[in-house]
């Protein structure tokens, strides 16, 4: 049975070029980059070349790139690292995040608030299309604000966020300015990050959403920001992230970044056409509503809701036909959880329970989209006739 992989947003297919780039660093002698001998210097050079590539991907200086063990760790480092530092010199520390952040950001924020009485979390509203409401941010910013974190594009809906507006408010409204962070993990495949995050202080990316290995990510700082290391360890990454730097992982991230940058324009064009076709087709299915239609979205994601169907059942039957898709985040049990993103957008519980995310990437073909359109229509028809 053919597999139609429409879950790129959960994890992108691993590129051959990435595997090839990583291979020399996965067997035989791989020096510890912190050492002083030749093997160490070779490893160190590979890491620093990777660092340069990641820096240019977002238009930052190499010294601002901190390699982490994945995107979640990168987000956690930004939130916890900045807030911990802020607490030393402030009585109260407030973390402002949007209501649609990934758990990597929201759980990190909520943990800080749970662990420390002097930390609180404020939530920036979004509108019905899932776009951050800048008025809401304006009303929340205060002298206590340690950090504002708004993602570049939402991982469930694909909706892009007004990062320049977030930065402008954060810098202008509070004397001294407030640090900004963006989870650019879902946006990285699609958006020229250097331009989109030019005014944002800290950017999180990860490799496995752009064709690289899992558990490889980076937090990039645009300027000399002080943050507490979450993993202090041996002082690596200029004391910001302890632990032997994983050469293969860094090289893999850089290779993925390199490919992404090279293909960005072409992939965007091609997948935009696929998205248009898919959106047009699903809009014809009675009762199917495309999420965030009124907003600017990344090309790869088509998120829909059905008022009368259950995600669990849609996914089951799609899976049976070889279609890999998802709905909201999976919780630790593996069950689909009610989406906090849809709730923040005001989508009804019934609709949210019938949500479906189809996400495409560079590898997706026209034929696959045609096949999925037919399969999805068939599945919906079948569930409705059995009802």
């Amino acid at each position: 049975m053919s597999l139609y992989y429409f879950d790129h947003a959960a994890s992108a297919p691993r590129r051959d070029e990435v595997a090839d780039a990583m291979a020399p660093w996965q067997r035989g002698v791989v020096g510890n980059p912190s050492g002083s001998h030749k093997a160490a210097r070779d490893a160190r050079r590979a890491v620093e070349e990777a660092r340069d590539e990641v820096a240019s991907f977002v238009g930052a200086k190499p010294g601002g790139v901190i390699f982490t063990g994945g995107g979640t760790e990168s987000c956690d480092l930004a939130i916890a690292g900045v807030t911990s530092h802020h607490r030393r010199t402030h009585e109260t520390s407030e973390i402002l995040i949007s209501r649609i952040e990934h758990h990597a950001v929201s759980d990190a924020a909520e943990k800080m608030a749970r662990d420390y009485d002097d930390v609180r979390v404020g939530f920036i509203d979004v509108d019905a299309d899932g776009v951050v409401d800048l008025d809401s941010l304006m009303s929340l910013l205060s002298d206590d604000t340690a950090i504002v974190s708004v993602m570049a594009a939402n991982n469930e809906t694909g909706v892009r966020q007004p990062l320049d507006g977030v930065s402008a408010l954060s810098k202008s409204m509070i004397p001294g300015g407030v640090l900004t962070h963006t989870d650019a993990i879902a946006a990285a495949s699609w958006v020229p990050l250097a331009a989109m995050t030019a005014t944002t202080d800290m950017i999180s990316i990860c490799a496995h959403k752009i064709g690289g290995p899992v558990n490889s990510g980076a937090l990039i700082l645009r300027s000399d920001i002080t943050l507490d290391a979450v993993i202090p360890g041996g002082g690596q990454e200029r004391g910001r992230r302890g632990g032997t730097v994983d050469v293969a992982a860094a090289v893999g991230l850089a290779a993925a970044v390199r490919i992404t940058m090279k293909e960005l324009a072409d992939v965007n064009d091609r997948v935009l056409d696929l998205q248009e076709k898919l959106v047009a087709a699903v809009s014809l299915i009675p009762g199917c509503r495309v999420t965030g239609l009124g907003a600017l979205r990344v090309p790869g994601t088509v998120h829909v809701t059905f008022e009368d169907l259950a995600s669990d059942e849609l996914l089951f039957l799609l899976d049976q036909e070889g279609v890999c898709a998802s709905a909201a985040a999976s919780c630790s049990s593996g069950a689909a959880s009610p989406s906090h993103v849809l709730a923040a957008m005001g989508v009804s519980r019934e609709r949210a329970r019938g949500s479906l995310r189809l996400s495409m990437g560079a590898e997706t073909t026209d034929e696959e989209v045609d096949a999925v359109i037919a399969i999805l229509s068939g599945v919906v028809y079948r569930l409705r006739s059995e009802a």
Binding site: A310, F316, L317, S333, A335
Partner: protein, 347 residues
Amino acid sequence: MSGGVDSSVAAGLLIEQGRDVVGATLKLWGGVSDSGCCSVADVDDARRVAQMLGIDHHVFNYTEEFERHVVAPFVEAYAAGRSPNPCIECNRHIKFDLLFDRARRLGFDAVATGHHAQVVARDGAHYLIRGADDQKDQSYVLGYLGEDQLATLLLPIGAMNKSDVRGHAERLGLRTWDKPDSQDVCFIEASKGREDFLRQRIDLTPAVIVDRVSGEEIGATQGAELMTVGQRRGVLPARDGERRFVSKVDLRAGRVEVGRLEDILVNEIALDASSLTFSHDVLVDGSAVLAQWSAHGAAQSATLRHRGHLRLELDVPARPVAPGQSVVFYRVSDPTIVEGAAIVAVS
């Protein structure tokens, strides 16, 4: 598949019988669970068993329905002075209703569980029968099932003893073979108990505990909702040194009445007419039944009466049964067969 040994073996046996099986675990409770059922660790166990058996495994999220049909009514019942059985409500509304419908929509022919009970086909109808292992029989919690569900329900381990079940688990190499059976209600932490759970949701009523004859105040409780009629546990003996049993709980008056066993025995149990179900034939007024009103209690001889209010007239007086408890009727001529069920009403 709950992650427990019964459902794991049920799946394994069906596969050995050549059936096309998919495993499903229901996500019902989003909170902490240490009862041995429904925690993330249990889902992992179920998933791993499915992987080892070579079948697909899916997790279905029914947390909203579970809250609406099981947890919220559980709390409301206690607040109203009843003693609900949430496992039965879960079976009725979630496992054997919503899940059965879903299975049908997804193209399945049958649903199987690891319950210790049996379904027997006889003369074109399907009957629910007690499990072979008396100690583990779970026909009581399935007492509400009707022909529609029984016709498409498979209970692969019902004809076995528990030790045989564990033997199969070991033989199949399943890691749950020596996992202890889950105890108590899946959404109540065993380490904390019902009182703690209820206190987080409702105010509990303090009450004095009073001897119904002498009026002697023999104790007090911080949560009268947790005391049920017929209960002895938690009740101190009176001044005469004899054990006391709860005969009445009056939440409004903040008063629990207790009496000596022989003084509180009752001859009849009132039933809620709207809850009455029969598996097949209606039991008419005056029918003799064997009635069981707790998960592991012995069934008692009684007569079902419809005239006036629906009730069971007991052949032998028994301790009163708390409103909200389920009563399951077994056939007098063949005590393993379930004939129907009803919920105890306030008398």
